[in-house]
Symmetry: C2
Subunit: 311 residues, 2 copies
């Protein structure tokens, strides 16, 4: 499970950073991709990345500002030439009309079934592997942050203990793993609950939209393995950040610290800062919280298993 940044700039594209988009790459054989926001040129960034639109399963939109959605119609159209697998979009009210109008005006026909869900706060979707919750942030227009959590995974069956007890592998292992109590042919009884490690909590990633510092951000980021937070401005422009509904790098770090997040990645950097200014943003955040890094277009941030340090 990792996060691949496709666009890490704010408002307008710059030669250094495209407008907002990131891909969450899921573990497991399905190798699915979930996209968060889709600024103009996201499909171009995908084209220059190892990602495949055919693997894209879901798109989550934080809010409807142009730098977060103007790449959506083109990406949806291009995906149509690559797969007929279904796609689901989630986002604030108005998303459905935006997509429908753009596709209708352009006469775009999609080769795959697409569902657009206009969401409220709370549980957005879940399956056997993941659940996604949303909360409303503080950005003027309706804007959501998302928390993606792996479902709790069953504890590991201690096969080394079973070997020591002289129980050969077979269907009985499965029953023990499910916590059943069984009787062996030799008359001994075993309780699966004694032979299975405690359930492993799933990892959690919080991907927030544009926002001023707010308690909803803190709730979404609580104990998260990774927090992706906007850092549109440096501390010297805290007044602008507040006026336009954004955060400074330092404010993002304060949220990460208050929430007890494990890792912080800053994105949505204003094009007013060039490569020479960026170390300042990072330093302002690092004075408050670590580990913290500044996302770049095409940078990848791993979400390590809990207790396993990031590579």
């Amino acid at each position: 499970m990792d996060v691949y940044f496709l666009g890490t700039g704010a408002g307008v594209p710059s030669p250094r950073r495209n407008v907002s988009a990131l891909a969450l790459r899921l573990d497991g054989p399905r190798g699915g991709i979930w996209l968060f926001d889709c600024g103009e040129g996201t499909q171009h960034q995908v084209l220059a990345s190892p990602l495949k639109l055919s693997r894209l399963e879901k798109v989550f939109i934080t809010h409807l500002h142009g730098d977060h959605i103007f790449g959506l119609p083109g990406l949806l159209a291009t995906r149509s030439s690559q797969t007929d697998a279904p796609l689901t979009l989630y986002g604030p009210p108005g998303l459905c009309a935006f997509v429908r109008d753009a596709l209708a005006a352009s006469g775009t026909w999609l080769a795959y079934p697409m569902e657009v869900m206009e969401i409220k706060e709370g549980m957005v979707c879940q399956d056997a592997s993941y659940r996604v919750e949303a909360a409303r942030l503080d950005h003027g227009v309706p804007c959501f942050g998302y928390r993606i959590t792996e479902q709790e995974r069953p504890g590991r069956l201690r096969v080394e203990d079973l070997a020591r007890l002289g129980v050969p592998p077979g269907p009985v292992y499965g029953r023990l793993k499910r916590g059943e109590r069984i009787e062996l042919p030799d008359g001994r009884t075993l309780d699966g609950r004694d032979l299975v490690d405690p359930p492993r909590p799933g990892r959690a990633v919080a991907v927030l939209g544009d926002t001023r510092p707010c308690t909803a951000s803190m709730d979404l980021a609580r104990g998260a393995d990774l927090l992706v937070h906007e850092a549109t401005f440096a501390d010297a422009h805290a007044d602008l950040a507040h006026r336009y509904g954004h955060s400074t790098a330092r404010q993002a770090a304060l949220i990460a610290r208050a929430a007890g997040a494990m890792n912080l990645v800053l994105t949505h950097i204003s094009p007013r800062y060039d490569a020479e200014d960026e170390p300042r943003l990072l330093a302002e955040a690092a004075a408050v919280f670590c580990p913290v890094s500044l996302a770049l277009d095409h940078s990848v941030h791993d979400v390590p298993e809990q207790g396993v340090p990031a590579a």
Copy 2:
């Protein structure tokens, strides 16, 4: 006056060619730019070019397929951070709703006055320097080709003749240039009409949208100094070209020849052709018409004064 190609591919972006857009750079001190089509990522291509959105005066849309319009909302929004000069959009019915809906959904406010004109065949606009005419092409959906013509410019005053006649420079030159008849202090009379070259015809550029070969194309390209024609397919795929409402490179060349155009530039090349296939498309066109070239993203094609060969 030249044409700067921003996107020369068809349908979907490729690493080699972005989707459709080209800029006509006008002569004169105003250095204005007119954009023809605006596929996704056009503003990114502008950012990587010497063009300035603040110089953009007009946008002409050939048709509403996504690869020709999905860059429009983002480009309009970004232009707003660079100028408050007015902008006019021209295109087929539906353009107004597309732009209005995308800007409304995203809450985009433009700092400049914008007018959207849904056009019919015939004269689209004109001022003292240029006129633009449109005709309906053959692409399934409503699709226009445009012919941009410089207004006829007054003939040159032959100052060398006046010097020989001993007439010193002064206000009298302006009156003669306007074709007036004047009396000199020494009693001689001069007729401006004898001292001014014939009016110079303006240059004409035809920029066509996606189309099968059709007579409207030929009319728009009649005697044009430059014809920009789509060449989505190679000859081997003429059946696909016909089925999807497109032309082959050879068909584009046949139009240029029949119309008596002076120069042909091919664009809107299908991403199915890679860099190694492209010489074939060019050869197929060059067998029929020359001079012909294949546009590349960021290539520039001069429109020389008549009688002056292109550099």
